[in-house]
Symmetry: C2
Subunit: 358 residues, 2 copies
């Protein structure tokens, strides 16, 4: 039997609930494909802060680094919102991404026919949306230096951050994006603000150069403000989108909400080598934590991405994806995707229904 | 009779067409209220580049500065897209904003009952949306230094920009936003990325301090990625939004597309004193330029904002707003907002219909 070590980071809020479901689904899907998992659960985010005083303990990072893949629930909550920066759960997540060097964040936004009514967009606009945002994840203004607080030459208080990209950072994310587009429908839209920002002009230039390596992929460019509009106007025009860290943060969340089922959407964060990081797109939803109300499917589908992109286990991944569709087809819905005529279930029951179909 | 000098900057693409309509509407509305306008038309954007070699000639800026208000059509087009930065039409616009010191950009996004079907959002989601984005316009990453291209310590090519805010820049835009919210429904949502960026932490801190001057306004904070989602999920939750330059660029365009009638939306850019800058939110639409297809109403409504916010001429402003509603009520629609059962008209005819009702 093949064996993989998986680091589980339940995190905060609904994180533990959805991770426990995804773990069971992984186990069963794995065993049916002759795969065995060694799970190691480690503290992260607010949970780690409460336990150890830091949002990403060294042991959590080293365990994650030495495993084959990392599955994260969610982090953050009101309790830690006012913490100083180095004591925020979010800072732990950024350090984890940095530590694992996972520079490429793949965020699919797909409208399932079963859930088309969950979108706030008109049916004819939402139907058939199937796009992938490839977000640069370890560079740009999230990590750029200098950053901080200071006073300017007139003694006025200021605060600042630096948006910075090196050629190789753009080149490698562009290659991931072109490869992704090639496996999808061959269309890549690079999003920037090259009419204003030097960092974006450089981004556009490098992406255009890398494009010569992918003559079969059709490349276009769009300004970020226009992209934010086009996602609302006609999301179906997009196949694959590539963009920087902060624009990717904004646009991928917008795209996911357009599908109407943010509780359904997984993500994968990949580096050149080493373990990938897999997590649902949604947050920790502290207001429904511990109430068995969370939708576990985004985390279950993140586990499928883990199998596919992290371990190359396509068959086991397909099993999970199909099991999710099957549970939906049989009418099971958590509250966030419920519509009349379906069966309202909690987090655990949804997990059991998925397990039945794996 | 009161007299005001107005600088008209037709700009590029559909700019000249829509400005000529708005000029006529201003004339008539003014004369009915005992107001006389002295119009001075100046080159700007691509048109200025072709004529003078720069996107904002000194004379254009000095004329604008010494007038009572500035009305801009639109700038930009494919022709100048590959220009070097200092020769881009957009650079002219940024210099104009900087030169006029118009730090506060007000961008309403309203769904008119007559046009609710134009939105790609479901009727029940779009209906009744009436929000105002207050965008900081002369600071942040648009203007921050250092910026440019360089090589890092390893000899790698890099490009960078600086997101920077001084205390007084945040304070003054916050005050405009609180004043705006106070005149609307008393709710202000400040949007930032304070879980990651120092510049945003500072933004949040200052806005929270200024809030003590406005105990009657209810202040909330939201992360920009969440705001991009919430605008799609439930735009009606927002009254007034205040945010920085780049987030405001993205969110105001998203909000305007949510209304489905971007051809209808005006904007006002105001400073501490001196002339304000008024412009439609839409771009120069080069593909329909010169074809009498453009929707002039965004520019006509920008003229109304000019009267109201720029000159304090509320009555004349109201005349124009009512005339626009009246033309819509009589069923006149340009192509962008057309729906069956209405009368499809071109730019000029729409202008005439508005004039009839002024
Ligand atoms: C929690 C936060 C730091 C994070 C980000 O901004 O990257 C989140 O919004 C995300 O998109 O994964
Ligand atoms: C044309 C461009 C420089 C401008 C901006 O980014 O501010 C535009 O998108 C706008 O929003 O007015």
């Amino acid at each position: 039997a093949k064996r993989y070590s998986i680091t589980l980071l339940p995190g905060d809020g609904i994180g533990p609930e959805v991770i426990s479901i995804a773990k069971n689904v992984l186990k069963v899907a794995g065993s049916l494909e002759g795969i065995e998992f060694l799970f190691q659960e480690m503290p992260m985010g607010g949970a780690a802060l409460d336990l150890t005083g830091v949002p990403l303990p060294d042991e959590t990072l080293s365990t994650a680094k030495s495993s084959d893949a990392v599955l994260l629930g969610a982090i953050g909550g009101y309790k830690w919102d006012k913490n100083e920066k180095h004591l925020k759960p979010e800072t732990g997540l950024l350090k984890l991404r940095e530590g694992l060097k996972v520079f490429a964040n793949l965020r699919p936004a797909t409208v399932l026919q079963q859930l088309v009514d969950s979108s706030t967009l008109k049916k004819e606009v939402a139907e058939g949306v199937d796009l992938m945002v490839v977000r640069e994840l370890t560079g740009g203004i999230y990590f750029g230096k200098p950053r901080g607080f200071s006073t300017n030459e007139n003694g006025v208080e200021i605060a600042y951050n630096t948006e910075v990209y090196a050629a190789y950072e753009i080149d490698r994310i562009a290659r991931v994006a072109f490869e992704t587009a090639r496996k999808r429908h061959g269309k890549l839209c690079s999003v920037d603000k090259a009419n204003v920002l030097e960092a974006s002009m450089f981004w556009r230039k490098r992406v255009t150069e890398i494009a010569t390596e992918y003559p079969d992929v059709e490349l276009s460019h769009m300004y970020v403000d226009n992209a934010a509009m086009q996602l609302v106007r006609n999301p179906k025009q997009f196949d694959t989108i590539v963009t920087n860290n902060i624009f990717g943060d904004i646009l991928s969340d917008e795209a996911s909400m357009i599908t109407g089922s943010i509780g359904m959407l997984p993500s994968a964060s990949l580096g050149e080598s080493g373990p990938g990081l897999f997590e649902p797109i949604h947050g920790s939803a502290p207001d429904i934590a511990g109430q068995d109300k969370a939708n576990p499917l985004a985390t279950v589908l993140s586990a499928a991405m883990l199998l596919k992109y992290g371990l190359g286990e396509e068959n086991a991944a397909k099993r999970i994806e199909n099991a999710v569709l099957d549970a939906l087809n049989r009418g099971f819905r958590t509250g966030d995707i419920y519509s009349p005529g379906n069966k309202l279930v909690g987090c655990k029951e949804m997990g059991e229904e998925v397990l039945k179909s794996v």
